[in-house]
Amino acid sequence: MTQTTPHPEEAGSRAGHPLVQLTGVQKHFGDLHVLKDIELEVAAGEVVVVLGPSGSGKSTLCRTINRLETIDEGEIRVDGELLPTSGAGLAKLRSEVGMVFQSFNLFAHKTVLQNITVAPIKVKGIPRRDAEVTGMELLERVGVADQADKLPAQLSGGQQQRVAIARSLAMSPKVMLFDEPTSALDPEMISEVIEVMTGLAKDGMTMIVVTHEMGFARRTADRVVFMDSGRIVEVRPPEEFFSSPQTDRAKDFLGKILHN
């Protein structure tokens, strides 16, 4: 097992200072060791795609970064600050880290526009008018402005996920986490969400993306992180990872994914 150390400079001109740093992270679910010795550094402006078989810990890894999952050992820093364990400090940090879920999790009782504006108004104290103007701009950007007054359940899955992305963007996050954003979508809706994500990456958003969309990883990622049974097994630029994976586990995984 080779563990290639992260090289942000490989990402070229887009790489900035380290924004997310995980050092020596360990996590257990009961007897199950789900995250083992995780070392990962993501630079500002970088797009990191996390790949791996199901149960490899990639979603858990993603969720530890805004502390939806706690860790047993190690350190996580966001923009140099150690992750607060609770209280107002943690809430503040979470407001700066966007999160997009597999199951969208739009607030079911609020309209699309309210979904976007509620956090800026209540958490950041932005005046309602301003939040609504920004909200409409964001909905425009993700292509669902015409659905602003509908409830989430009236939208297709692809539209809901685009709204969820806009909701995160409304908080102007420093980094965005995507936890299998397209896994609950019909095939024809995947592309509309991927398109929005590709746009974000082009605009320089720092992104950590857990996905099974190999096309997105290949085209958009600066680095691919491959995980297996709780461990980061390979960290490499996508072209190298896909053309010549170094570990047997990654070869096996890619073989299964790409040949069916």
């Binding site: 979470r94 700066e96 199951s103 999790n105 607030f107 956090a119 209540k122 409830l151 909701r167």
Partner: protein
């Protein structure tokens, strides 16, 4: 039924007392019960334990004993309440435990993802609860809550045994005076309770339709 016509002033006094007891206790127990339910899901274990103890204690104590406590025990400790006030306190405390459980069942029906989304947007626990979770929880909690409030309306009759002149006390007084009309009097009083409770059931249906939303 002539009895009621003769004693219509007394009937009205009793009816409005029952209504007042139910309405005030209902409002207080809704607020108190929601607070208790919120404590039940709080991140702080001591608060959760406190709320659990409160709920289990009041829910498993006969209402008559709760009344007994506020009417006879607290005065001996130096707190004397008017009978009506004591009745409102007893009914509110007792009912709030059931409200708390109904609201908690509503909270549990809201998917974890809703609260996770709220947390990851930087909302505090209280914002999460008041903006995201409770509004959705109440929608699911309407049918059990209405059952709780219907029980409350009927439970006000216990106050009749503790110095409050409401519908049950009225039936006692009238059956003493007009002993030939016992059946008519009891049927009449029962109808008064129906008059209060049936609209509550209707209200439940109306509210459910009004706040219905697809998940």
């Amino acid at each position: 039924m002539d009895t009621f016509l003769i004693e219509r002033d007394m009937l009205w006094t009793a009816f409005s007392t029952t209504l007042t007891l139910a309405a005030i206790s209902g409002a207080i127990s809704l607020v108190l019960g929601t607070l208790i339910a919120a404590l039940r899901v709080s991140p702080y274990a001591p608060l959760r334990a406190l709320a659990t103890a409160y709920t289990e204690f009041l829910r498993n104590t006969p209402l008559t004993i709760v009344f007994f406590f506020y009417v006879f025990v607290t005065p001996s400790m130096g707190f004397t309440f008017d009978y009506k006030v004591a009745a409102v306190i007893a009914l509110s405390c007792y009912t709030s435990a059931f409200v708390a459980e109904a609201v908690r069942s509503g909270i549990n029906s809201v998917t974890v993802g809703q609260a996770e989304a709220a947390r990851s947007l930087g909302m505090s626990f209280s914002q999460n609860l008041s903006i995201v979770v409770l509004p959705q929880a109440f929608r699911t909690a309407i049918p059990p809550l209405i059952s709780v409030f219907i029980a409350l309306v009927k439970n006000t009759s216990v106050a009749g045994a503790f110095g409050v002149f409401e519908l049950f006390a009225l039936s006692k007084r009238l059956t003493n005076v007009y002993s030939a009309d016992v059946i008519a009097i009891l049927v009449g009083v029962a109808l008064c309770y129906l008059l209060l409770c049936i609209p509550l059931g209707q209200l439940a249906g109306h509210l459910e339709r009004k706040v219905a939303f697809a998940r």
